[in-house]
Every structure is written in structure tokens, then in C-alpha cells.
Subunit: 295 residues, 2 copies
């Protein structure tokens, strides 16, 4: 008989991830704030749970995929949360992107209740979620990681699932990931802006740069979106802004100086202020172009 | 009988590039400030020229590979420079990295004297020069580019030689390249610094990030150097600082706002001030680590 997995949070990312688990033959108990996605999963064979506690009663492996730290705290540690009904030996896999400090605290709580919690944030966007090719950065107990690996393999690319270290290290790695994406995105936009202002074919510049040390996935994918001026998400800018808030709080916590990241966050504020929170995060390029009077 | 090529500037890059031309069967007339590299090339079959004018008398295709704008101005437009003895129909290929405005002005001068000048700066470092796998960004006349292409193919990867547009656009593209490398380098260092400060395995973080949207050649190559704390050039930091001076001057010329690039230049000043000009440019990571008290 196949294993039952609890899945909490059926948003842009969670819904296709849950569907891939169903397709792989797992039994699913699902819970989400919006009932539309729940109805969708139930029609594909999942069982509806009214509360997170209701999930915990029916599954000893529980995945959470919600927006931010307070959301994870609510579904795990809130009223009718998972912790109120946790079965001994349960593995919680939090695949949300949240503050590493919160991940560590919740993992300690899970331990105290006889469970285990992994932090396992992802990268790769909705396309990665749909295709089951996400990269996954995992923090927490190595034995729990080994048990969870076959389940993670269904949602991610098995070669891109890395056990980073102890609790919180998956989240910390995700913050590093967002820092690098943000900085690369802004500097790519600055370079393309210079080309445009100088009357040089920015598409040719992108092509040439992809052939050398300036190559990056951001130049390839986001650079292309910037030149085509199409910012359909993808990955929402308001979620990127949330991640950057966690980045700067964590930089402060560990007394780490990151001047480029500081500039990136200010440009992200400008991007939000321009009403671009629901565009793809590559829309930061538009903010950079605007500064130089480019369309 | 094979074509004769003039080659001026046999430094860290020019010397292996000239050697590859010799190996490919071209006749070479060489000139350089230091006589050591000239002796080396002559012992391999090249002909020594005492001055750049002397090169111009013996070749109708002339490559220049010197450090900065004033050096190119000197060997072309100075006393005993190439322009004093230019044969009609000569193609000058300047593969140095210099200011786009200077490249345009010198190309105009070459035209007025009956010649043609391409700006063709490279990316790929000494390894690319030695292996003949450089990427080359070319500005200038399309017919001259077509004539020069077989020669460029010897020094670069034929698939990574891009004709960007008119005179100066190759140099402008190179500046874009350096902006992107600089910004990516600093933000990668910031992310690795956060991992180190948080006590997380920075090598694992690098590995995980290479699997997703944070992937870049800089994370792969320079990130590895930063983690191993080995900064053997490669590409000298003092030359990178020269490129960044050309970047900021060109940003000002075209009224382009580039706040991340501005921060990168300041960190480059700090890197030079720390006496790291003769290290590989990836040593900027050390400057970032220093700021957070990391070794």
C-alpha cells in the first residue's frame, strides 16, 4: 500500500508539486486557505482536510508550502495547527522560503513533540514545479533527509537536491540563492541599459556575453525577458521582496556586510512602489531602465 | 604564400595569441615594449620590428593588444606609430580593452588614412588566449570583419566571435561584460560570506546554487577560487580596475544610472588599496569577506 502524504498550501508552486506526488502514486491529504485548488486536487483523488491538525491525524509525512515565516508558524504552531495533533515519528518537510531562525525554532518544537522537521526550500519557479525539476536545498537531520529523498525526487531534479547541513541551513542557502539572483539581475539590467543608451544592439550584447565569463542563467532567461519587455510570472516580485526582507534580517543577525545586496533591496522597493509586485521578479530590469529614461 | 600579420603588444594575453597565429601558419612581424617576449616569438619564427611604424611597413593586417586607451593611442597615433606608415587598405584589429569613444576616434583616423580599424576586445583570460578559445566582441565595418574572421577564429572560439555593430560597439560590449562580471562576483562573495558567518558549508551552498537560477560562470570559477582562497591570475585586478574606470566614464557619457556598478567600483578601490592589484580579479571576494571579519 502506498504512503500517505499530507500537503498544506496549494498555491502557484504547491498545487503542481502536489499533483506530481499524486501522479507518482502517493496518497494525498490536502489543506489550503483557498478551496478552489483543494477541490481541484480532490477531483484528482486527494482527500480533503479541514485544518492542518486534520492533516496531521492522517499522515506521518507532511509537506508545507506557504508564503512566509508567519504562515508556516500558523499552520504548524497555530490553533488547529499540525503540532496540536502530531503523531510520533512524523516528518515535516517545509518547502516554503522562510527565515532560517524560524525554521530552526520550529524544528526544535517538532523534535520536542517526537517528530522531525526538514527545511527544504526550492528554486526553479512554477515551470520547475510543473515539470518536477525543482532544485531543493535541505537542512536538518540526515536520517530524515534519507527517508524524504524519494518524495523530494518526485518534485525536484534528483541531481539538484542537496543536503546542506543542520536545521535552517536549507533556508540560509535559499537566501544566498536569492541574493545572487537579485544582484545578477540588477547588474545585467545595468549593462543592457548602457548598451541601449549608447545605441548598441542589446540583443547582440546579451548573445556575446553568454559566450564568456559573464554567462549566467539570469542573463539567459531574465535578460531575455528584459529585452522583450515581458514580465509574466514566473516568480512574483512581491515574493522576491519578502525573501529580500528575510535576507537583510539574516545579514544583520550574522553581522554580514553586503553592500550590493543593500542596493538591490532599495531597487526592489522602487519596483514595488511602481506597482510591479505581481509581475515576474525580472521586472526589476524595468526599474533600472526607467532610471535612465529608457522605455 | 601565407599572409603576414603585424602583432603589437606581447603581454600576458598577446604573447599566447601571437603564438597561436604562428602555429596556424601565419607569418608574423612583432613589436612590444619588453624585448623578452619579442625574443621568444622571434625564436619561433616571427620577424622583429623596432617600432610600430616598422610593423606597418611590413604588414597590411595589424593586431594591437596593449593595456589601455593611451597605449593604443601611442602605438597607432604616436611618434613612429602605425599611422605614420600605414599602407592603403590595411586592416587594424585592436584587441585591447579601451574606451569606446577612443576606439571610434582612432577608427575615424584610420579611415581618413585609407585603412580600416576594428575594435575586437576579448574575454576568457590567459587560459582562453593560450587555448585559442577567447570570446571576441567586434565593432566596425562588416566587410573588414568578414576579412578578419579567419584570423580571429585562430585566437577565439569561432562560435563566440560576435559582430556587435559599428565602431566602438565591441568595446562597449566589453564594458557591459565587465560590469556583469563585477556585479556577479561581488554578490556571489556576499552570499558565500553570509553562509560562512552563519556556520553553513559554503561549498555546499555553491553546489546547490549552481543547480538553479543563481548559476553563473562566475559562481562556478571565481566562487571556487574564493572558497579555496587562491587568487593566482588569471586576470589582474589592476586591469579590471582600469576597465571599471572606462565603464564609469562611459556610463556618465551616456547618462546611464548603474547603482550596483557604482558599489562594485568602490569595492575595487578597497581591493586595490589592500595591495591586491596583482592578484586575480576574483580577489574582490576577499575584500568582501574582510568586511565581515572573515579570513
Amino acid at each position: 500500500m502506498s504512503q500517505t502524504i499530507g500537503f498544506i498550501g496549494l498555491g502557484l508552486m504547491g498545487r503542481p508539486m502536489a499533483k506530481n506526488l499524486l501522479k507518482a502514486g502517493y496518497k494525498l491529504v490536502v489543506n489550503s486557505r483557498s478551496q478552489g485548488p483543494v477541490d481541484d486536487l480532490v477531483s484528482s483523488g486527494a482527500v480533503r482536510a479541514i485544518t492542518p491538525a486534520d492533516v496531521a491525524r492522517q499522515a506521518t509525512c507532511i509537506i508545507t508550502m506557504v508564503p512566509d515565516s508567519p504562515d508556516v508558524e500558523l499552520v504548524l504552531d497555530g490553533p488547529n495547527g499540525v503540532f496540536t495533533a502530531l503523531q510520533p515519528g512524523t516528518i515535516i518537510i517545509d518547502m516554503s522560503s522562510i527565515a532560517p531562525g524560524v525554521a530552526r525554532r520550529l524544528a526544535d518544537r517538532a523534535n520536542a513533540l517526537g517528530g522531525t522537521m526538514l527545511d527544504a526550500p526550492v528554486s526553479g519557479g512554477d515551470i520547475g514545479a510543473i515539470n518536477g525539476t525543482l532544485s531543493i536545498m535541505v537542512g536538518g537531520d540526515a536520517a530524515a533527509f534519507a527517508k524524504a529523498k524519494p518524495i523530494l525526487d518526485v518534485m525536484g531534479n534528483p541531481e539538484k537536491i542537496v543536503h546542506i547541513g543542520e536545521s535552517g541551513s536549507g533556508q540560509l542557502c535559499k537566501l544566498c540563492n536569492q541574493m545572487v539572483i537579485g544582484g545578477t539581475l540588477v547588474v545585467v539590467a545595468e549593462a543592457l541599459a548602457l548598451a541601449k543608451k549608447a545605441g548598441v544592439d542589446a540583443g547582440k550584447v546579451r548573445e556575446a556575453l553568454l559566450g564568456g565569463f559573464a554567462q549566467s542563467r539570469v542573463l539567459e532567461v531574465h535578460g531575455d525577458r528584459a529585452l522583450k519587455n515581458t514580465y509574466k510570472p514566473g516568480f512574483y516580485t512581491h515574493l522576491f521582496a519578502k525573501d529580500m526582507r528575510n535576507v537583510v534580517a539574516t545579514l544583520a543577525e550574522h553581522e554580514t556586510a553586503a553592500p550590493v545586496t543593500a542596493v538591490v533591496q532599495q531597487l526592489l522597493h522602487a519596483t514595488m512602489a511602481a506597482g510591479r509586485g505581481n509581475d515576474d521578479n525580472s521586472v526589476m530590469a524595468k526599474t533600472v531602465f526607467d532610471m535612465s529614461g529608457l522605455k
